[in-house]
């Protein structure tokens, strides 16, 4: 009797644990906006911090990490911006420490971008962009544009300080900078370092209520209210084609992620099931998670149009494909759900992320570490499928989506992808079935149209002949009646 009780007790405990574990697992959103649990797309494989960092000869190093605020990976090197120590750490692709650079030259750096030629560091404390070559020697600098908006020298009292925060450089060497307190948009510098223009400012919008009050207030009252400023960009990244991917404040609503072309116009495709705003449903308070909308602080784009954004509210990373579908969500803050002790592979205050080879790097400024994510089988398959679809190999994409469905049956995007491929093959009936499962209206519609035509072509001749026969029947009947009537009238007459 006791044994049975113990077994029941233990099974209840393990069941509960399982439920808890599922609650912390990866998720996605269904086309109807519900939370659907999903297979894990990325998992943490390595966490590099001051304790376990080694140099090439597997020896501990003397310097320790400060507050890491930005990360960049190019070819076989990883660059970490250390804000408190005002240096940049360079790591190899095996996460071995190579060296640091920028001591005495940098003050309070905030951002980094590396091209084949140069390393651009946003040297916020010195009000400039410092440029280094690949021997880590100081090469040149970009100072504030010669414009009265900015302080031209330290004694100048009228302008703003030029405080570059985030920086990106396209393949022709044009430098795009987000600077503190600058509301005109992204600053665009020529390759030689001269200022060119402002780009793609967010527009100021008024709600109906605000507009109503603005009508009632007098000129003095309006001045007392202060300026209505456009929301500034939080971060940016340039892709191979030269498009700028930006993230802004939550006030931008559904257009919080933008893809700016050279004219500064937003051209992002928004064809996903749900808008690209991160978390859809506000998390219930009982789960002890921070409430409120996702606030994006960093974005990175890979070579086939997938982009991922880092949410600082709940420490989650959302990945979207080039059409705007939410592919997968990973990452989580570690100090949540009643755990005060921090788990090493969870974040405390993630600040930046970067695609690096087939991995994802995330830096955390409070944990002072670099977290390395690697794709699981599921994540790899999804990436492959979206890549094949991006390249136009629909048949290959279909086969890969079928593999994805083996791993995760609740993956609506896979059904959608298969439906599109089936429609191209001309298998309309199956395409309809799959597009219904994938909630894809347009594919369903364009598969249904030829299907309906095929069906109607079979039925229509019979329909036509029957109605034609009826027509003749009624005509003959009425003609007979008319003749009879005429005969009767003749007889009477």
């Amino acid at each position: 009797m006791k044994k049975i009780l113990i077994v029941i007790f233990l099974s209840i405990i393990t069941l509960n644990l399982q439920i808890l574990r599922v609650a912390g697992k990866s998720y996605n959103y269904s086309p109807l906006g519900e939370v659907v649990y999903s297979a894990e797309a990325l998992s943490v494989t390595q966490v590099i911090d001051s304790d376990n960092i080694r140099d090439e000869f597997n020896q501990p190093i003397s310097t320790s990490f400060g507050e890491l605020v930005d990360v960049f990976g190019l070819e076989d090197k990883i660059y970490l911006v250390d804000r408190t120590n005002s240096i940049v750490h360079v790591l190899s692709d095996k996460y071995e420490y190579i060296r640091s650079f920028g001591e005495t030259l940098l003050t309070n750096p905030q951002g980094i971008f590396v091209t084949d030629e140069f390393i651009y560091v946003a040297d916020t404390g010195n009000f400039r962009i410092a440029i280094f070559d690949h021997n880590y020697d100081y090469s040149s600098e970009i100072l504030a544009p010669s414009d009265p908006t900015f302080k031209q020298n330290p004694e100048d009292k009228s302008g703003y300080d030029f405080k570059p925060l985030k920086i990106t450089v396209n393949r022709t060497g044009r430098i795009y900078v987000i600077a503190d307190q600058i509301f005109e948009g992204i600053m665009d510098f020529n390759p030689d370092g001269s200022f060119s223009r402002y780009l793609g400012a967010n527009t100021v919008t008024l709600s109906v209520w605000e507009a109503f009050w603005l009508k009632l207030t007098s000129e003095e009252q309006r001045q007392a209210q202060g300026y209505r400023l456009a929301t500034t960009f939080k971060n940016l990244m340039v892709d191979d084609m030269g498009y700028l991917y930006t993230v802004s404040d939550v006030t931008e609503g559904e257009r919080v992620i933008k893809k700016l072309n050279y004219k500064g116009i937003d051209v992002l495709t928004r064809n996903g099931y749900i808008p690209q705003v991160g978390d859809l449903v506000t998390v219930p308070r009982s789960q002890n998670l921070p409430v409120g909308p996702s606030e994006f602080i960093d974005i990175d784009v890979n070579d086939f149009g997938n982009y991922m954004v880092l949410d600082s509210t709940r420490g989650r990373i959302f990945t979207y494909d080039f059409e705007g579908n939410l592919l997968y969500v990973f990452g989580q803050l570690g100090n949540l759900t009643n755990t005060t002790n921090n788990v090493r592979d969870r974040f405390l205050k993630p600040t930046a992320l970067k695609y690096f080879n087939s991995k994802v790097l995330v830096v955390d400024s409070i944990n002072k570490n670099l977290v390395v994510f690697e794709y699981t089988e599921f994540g790899r398959l999804v990436n492959e499928a979206t890549k094949l679809y991006y390249e136009g190999d629909y048949q290959g994409a279909k086969d890969t989506w079928e593999d994805v469905l083996v791993v995760n049956t609740n993956y609506y995007l896979a059904y959608k992808g298969i439906a599109k491929a089936l429609l191209r093959e001309g298998d309309y009936e199956k395409a309809m079935e799959y597009s219904k499962l994938g909630y894809d209206d347009l594919t369903y519609s364009s598969a249904y149209q030829p299907y309906r035509y095929e069906r109607v072509v079979v039925v229509f001749p019979y329909l036509l002949s029957v109605s034609f026969a009826y027509l003749i029947f009624t005509f003959v009947k009425s003609a007979k009646q008319a003749i009879n009537k005429a005969k009767e009238e003749d007889e009477i007459g």
């Binding site: 109807l32 209206d441 519609s445």
Partner: protein, 236 residues
């Protein structure tokens, strides 16, 4: 013996029913009369009131059909126009969302027209409201049927049918209430405005009532808790 008697009775009952005439009566009452009301609203609603052409069973029938239409629209609409989550379907709510507004509207309208010298009584108001469901029900059912056989470009036909149903419903309601209360055009418009005000007042009172009941309940509950804590737990 007894079973035979019952069977004979049932047989004689069914023999009394003439299926042909009953179907014809049903057709006349449920289809032809409402169509007549749409085509000749003034004359039709005069017959409706004076000659007692309105039948109670037709009113109940259309109230029931309205619920059925809502259920079919939720579950049976085609894939392209149906963005409802089938798991969110709630039969009780669907019925309540048809019956409750009808009841409130009838009460509010009766209350206002009683003050505004309307000639209609409550039964007539109820019958007008349910007869007005006629276009909505049939056009809605046709729309639900064709929504299963359309493409994205043809959704406009579905939308037209549905909005036509709502439009004719409003038209029938307007002329119906005008007819049974024997009002002019302006007074009918005023009556509608006052009815909306009355509906708002009724909803407000219901809300107030429920929140009061809730507060009373929590008060009794806390008194009970206090009593249990003080006299039953502490003394032990």
């Amino acid at each position: 013996m007894k079973l035979d008697n019952v069977l004979v009775k049932i047989k004689s009952f069914f023999k009394k029913i003439n299926i042909k005439t009953s179907v014809r009566n049903f057709y006349n009452d449920c289809i032809r009369m409402p169509i007549r009301l749409i085509v000749y609203p003034i004359k039709g609603f005069e017959e409706f009131k004076v000659e007692k052409e309105a039948k109670g069973y037709v009113a109940i029938f259309y109230l029931f059909m309205m619920i059925l239409t809502q259920i079919i629209a939720y579950n049976g609409n085609g894939f392209l126009v149906n963005k409802n989550n089938p798991r969110d379907f709630n039969l009780f709510m669907t019925i309540a969302l048809v019956v409750f507004p009808v009841v409130i509207f009838v009460i509010a309208n009766w209350a206002t027209t009683a003050l505004m010298e309307g000639k209609g009584n409550m039964t007539e108001i109820f019958r007008v409201v349910t007869y007005a469901f006629f276009p909505y029900v049939w056009l809605g059912l046709i729309a639900s049927l064709i929504s299963n056989y359309i493409t994205v470009d043809e959704i406009v036909f579905f939308t037209i049918l549905q909005s036509l149903g709502v439009g004719i419903l409003a038209y029938m309601l307007f002329f119906g209430l005008l007819g049974i209360h024997e009002y002019g055009l302006f007074k009918t418009i005023m009556m509608f405005i006052f009815t909306i005000v009355a509906i708002a007042a009724i909803l407000f009172i219901i809300l107030l009532f429920f929140s009061l009941i809730q507060q009373l309940f929590t008060f009794i509950r806390s008194v009970y808790d206090e009593f249990v804590m003080r006299f039953l737990i502490w003394t032990r």
